[in-house]
Symmetry: C2
């Protein structure tokens, strides 16, 4: 049921996902769905949590450093969102408070606490990293939300700009032309982790 909804969302996107579609795919009427869910929004909440359940987080007992573990968590979330790009807008509209979302949050916060992070610093680190991952995944769509394959179209758009009017954008666009997305993603992620190292080992001061 939730799996069917996820498959439909993966196929056609959140916007085009329809209660009637789901009912047809399940071989029932729309009214039947309202006996299991309060409405379309609740279905999507379960879809999001189902996706979060796919994330493979590193074993908490492994010998990995917290830096490696945090990067692994970010990679897991990022990879999952790359596999389900249509889920990203949903993860932005709702803070994931389903069972899988909560379990994942708990796991990461405990991992950070075990490695010496005060509770508030760990929570902020988690927020900063997940915000970054979601934000990055979200921006990988072309201009206009309806664009099917986004990143290449966006790069082409930037290259098509007038270099005289936007010299810095076109220069940067050329420099980034052959930078894989994964590398760009890890670049910003590395910034966050390095900053966290500094803050964990010295007292914060504003």
């Amino acid at each position: 049921m939730v799996a069917t909804a996820l498959r439909l969302v993966d196929d056609v996107g959140v916007q085009a996902f329809t209660v009637r579609m789901l009912a047809d795919a399940l071989g029932s009427g729309t009214a039947t769905l309202y006996r299991h869910f309060t409405g379309r929004d609740e279905i999507l909440v379960y879809v999001v949590d189902h996706v979060l359940g796919e994330i493979t987080t590193p074993a908490p007992d492994g010998g990995a450093s917290w830096q490696e573990s945090l990067v692994a968590v970010a990679d897991g979330l990022y990879g999952t969102l790359r596999r389900h790009p249509h889920i990203v807008p949903l993860l932005i509209a709702q803070v994931p408070v389903g069972p899988n979302g909560l379990a994942q949050r708990e796991r990461v916060l405990r991992l950070l606490a075990e490695r010496g992070f005060p509770a508030d610093l760990g929570a902020r680190a988690f927020t900063a990293v997940t915000h970054y991952v979601i934000g990055f995944a979200a921006q990988q769509h072309g201009p206009g939300s309806a664009d099917p394959d986004g990143a290449p179209a966006l790069a082409a758009f930037y290259r098509g700009l007038d270099p005289a009017a936007f010299p810095s954008i076109t220069a940067a666009s050329q420099a980034l032309t052959d930078t894989p997305l994964e590398e760009e993603f890890h670049f910003g992620l590395g910034l966050l982790v390095r900053g966290l190292e500094l803050l964990r080992d010295e007292p914060p001061q504003g």
Copy 2:
């Protein structure tokens, strides 16, 4: 016209914003709007760009360091998104390629280039910072997208969890209870800027 659309979106949100609403507010019929815009989505593109035009970026000639300037840019975007929270989902669905969005991008990239950033590093820095700001602004809604005032509801939700089942989440929730959102925002932002300092002054190595 765009200003009227923005006011409506600010009032009722993107989801509830209706072409009929806009037509009524303008004292015309819906069909008239389709003579100026190709459709609802295009109206929203202009609404987003109109909001981005409100951002006050620091003067490029001032004596501020690039760190201060970058923080000021992030603050400007963040403050604008706080004033127009309903715009955030739109900024996620579309890369802002309207005139104001492009001008802002160009301004920041030039500023970074003038302060010694290679073109690719500047572009990645801009992406990382804007992703972070948008992602952070996006998460400030409670569980379920329909929730009117989000952050307090979310905090209450976390505090209502079973401490035995989610010890780390509840501990972190208590520690963060009296942390203002602005402080939490600047925390992650500071991480990014610090990481950028390291990468600008030493050669990048993966």
